[in-house]
């Protein structure tokens, strides 16, 4: 069996011809542009496109412009693998930003890892992503570090909170792991979790869950969901007379929620991995230009995609200073780029970030914001210190 295995595995041994790096420098973006995951993916596309323009306007990598290559992953695993393989061999990118979903990352990241191509996950938050391999890192902080801040802040705003209801979207990988953190934090803070309700991201009628919350008579509701279902849930909670505090998970950290819960969004406390209010000069410039172009503050998914592109560019700059990028073999550059990414420190819209040896993002600042709605349409995330 072992010999057979060896023969099968060898097949056509990977004799890859030496290739130079092309210019402008190709960076792959593999996110969901179609399927129902596109709601998240399209923000990432905007964030990445914006980064390309922003960075090239500032001289790219020490004068060499970058070029983003977009490959749609769709919403499924096979689509993610196809997109990755296209980027790796056909588009010959130096590194990849993607995919959108953690499930897709578990499928496609090993491909890039084995091909020794660096990957930066822009939005994968599930446990175990950076551990897929040495070439896999992410700029999206895992939920376990983001979520607890929100609970602490809510308690600071209203120290009388005792009774809690927890709700989460049980078919969403992110929300199910986030709710675990929320529930643990609530217990650690001495709160009494009276009811835990599940829903689906495809649900629209939350009357059952809301009634259970009202009957439990709680003073804090913690919701882990995505923009549409989370927004709907909040809307129905408020419409039906819930008056207490609401914490929204990181999946609801997007202005896409405003058209859904409208004025009822007001007051939601949100745990954020990114805040437009983050005071660094870098971020403020990003927010200013982004708002000028898109008429709204950048959402977290866009900021994270931007950050991933920026990390590549910053790391490439360092390498370029040592040895001109045009002189690198593509395969060597990819390996070097990966090493450099993990070694560096980056001043991004997310604040100052770096990576640990696995590729897990080490983010200095997490934020808690409260939504303030001006009217039914426009609102802002107000940064809470």
């Amino acid at each position: 069996m072992r010999t057979l295995t060896a023969i099968l595995a060898l097949g056509l041994a990977s004799v890859s011809l030496a290739e130079k790096v092309t210019t402008p420098l190709p960076i792959g973006i593999a996110v969901a542009q179609t399927s129902n995951t596109a709601l998240l993916g399209q923000e990432q596309v905007i964030g990445a496109r914006f980064a390309e323009k922003y960075i090239n306007a500032r001289g790219g990598v020490n004068g060499t412009p970058i070029r983003l290559v977009f490959q749609d992953t769709g919403g499924d695993e096979a689509g993610a693998i196809n997109a990755f393989q296209n980027l790796i061999t056909k588009d010959k990118v130096v590194g990849i930003v993607g995919p959108t979903l953690s499930q897709q990352a578990f499928s496609a990241d090993p491909i890039a890892d084995r091909a020794k191509v660096p990957v930066l996950g822009p939005s994968n938050t599930a446990k175990g992503i950076p551990q897929i391999g040495p070439f896999i890192a992410r700029v999206s902080a895992p939920v376990s570090v983001v979520a607890p801040n929100a609970v602490r802040t809510a308690l600071r705003l209203d120290p009388k909170i005792k009774k809690v209801a927890v709700l989460y979207a049980q078919n969403d990988a992110f929300s199910t792991s986030e709710t675990g953190t929320f529930q643990q934090t609530a217990k650690d803070q001495g709160l009494n979790v009276l009811t835990v309700q599940k829903f689906l991201t495809t649900d629209s009628d939350f009357t059952t869950q809301v009634t259970a919350v009202l009957n439990a008579d709680v003073d804090l509701v913690i919701v882990s969901g995505l923009a549409n279902d989370g927004g709907n849930l909040v809307k129905q909670l408020r419409q039906l007379g819930y008056k207490g505090s609401i914490i929204g998970g990181n999946g609801m950290n997007t202005s896409n929620m405003f058209p859904v819960c409208q004025q009822f969004c007001d007051g939601i406390i949100i745990a954020q991995a990114y805040s437009p209010a983050q005071p660094s000069a870098n971020n403020q410039l990003f927010v200013k230009e982004y708002s000028a172009q898109y008429k709204k503050a950048p959402p977290q998914f866009a900021a994270q995609a931007f950050t991933a592109v920026q990390v590549y560019v910053d790391a490439l700059k360092v390498i370029d200073r040592k040895k001109k990028l045009a002189e690198w073999e593509l395969a060597d550059l990819r390996v070097e780029l990966n090493t450099q990414i993990l070694a560096g420190k980056y001043n991004t819209p997310l604040g100052v970030i770096s990576f640990d040896k696995d590729g897990e993002v080490q983010q200095k600042d997490f934020y808690v914001a409260q939504i303030k709605m001006k009217d039914a349409k426009t609102g802002t995330f107000v940064f809470l210190k």
């Binding site: 179609t34 399927s35 129902n36 596109a38 709601l39 399209q42 905007i46 049980q170 009811t195 309700q197 599940k198 829903f199 689906l200 495809t202 629209s204 009628d205 009357t207 059952t208 869950q209 809301v210 009634t211 259970a212 009202l214 009957n215 923009a227 549409n228 279902d229 927004g231 709907n232 809307k235 129905q236 419409q239 039906l240 007379g241 896409n256 058209p259 859904v260 819960c261 409208q262 004025q263 009822f264 898109y294 008429k295 709204k296 039914a376 349409k377």
Partner: protein, 322 residues
Amino acid sequence: MTELLQNLINGLAIGSVYAIFALGYTLVFSILGIINFAHGAVFTLGAYFTYTLVVGQFENNGLIKGINLFPAGSPFHGSAWAFAAAALIGAVLSGLVAVVIERLAFRPMRARGADPLLALVSSLGVALVIVNLIQILVGAESYSFPTDIYGDLKPALIFSLGGKLIVVRTVQVIIFAVSMVLLLILGYVIGRTRIGKALRAVAENPGTASLLGISVTRFIIITFFLSGFLGGLAGTLVSTAFSVAGPYFGVAYGLKGLAVIVLGGLGSIPGAVVGGLVIGLAEAFVPAEYSAYKDAVAFALLFVILLIRPQGLLGRVQIQKV
């Protein structure tokens, strides 16, 4: 007891939407013996049409903006009448889309006498086209209707019964009322009018009907229009209660609608209503701690009913002639 009452209210409201949505499915099945998978996409379209007409504003990611029929300052702006008009126009447009679908995706197939199963694939293709066109045109975001869509009505009626709260949302009442009125009208049309009798004749036997001088093609068009109208209106109703939840919004309803019509009996009009209410209620009565299994309820019911009574609750047994 209060819980029972609350579940009953929730179940009837959602069940009545399932019912009018499923009616559209079942009408087409009764006439053509095919399942039109694009019905879920028409449902989504209905919601988008109405939203476009009433609010007329989409975010930046799509190619088009909306058209606001009743812009601020115009006489009906923000009134319940403006909404009702938009909903009606949205439903009519959905009906027209359904007619176009019939013309392009079904009629050539019928002319050739193809396997009715192919209609499944063809209509799936249509659904794929519609959903992705919506995404390209207006983006993947969700939208809610303005909260004052029903004028000055309070969002909900909440009262306490034996220490427990009972919540009746205004939209629930409106959905239920509109659905029931619609069902009564439809029941009258199909049961009493000439058009309805002709429709039933075509459903019974297309061959004989054409002998009786009924233009089958014309009635198929009418059927598709009605089906699209009902689907689109259901889309609008659901989206006012919750939100216009992106281009894939109707897919889940499409699938559940399938369970509804089989439960009630494929092709049976009262069956669609009973099936809708039964599934709505069954889902509402799933205890909160098992709500994760709620989506399995409709299908478990479907599976069981098929095994016990394959023709559905109100369907007729087909006797095979040997």
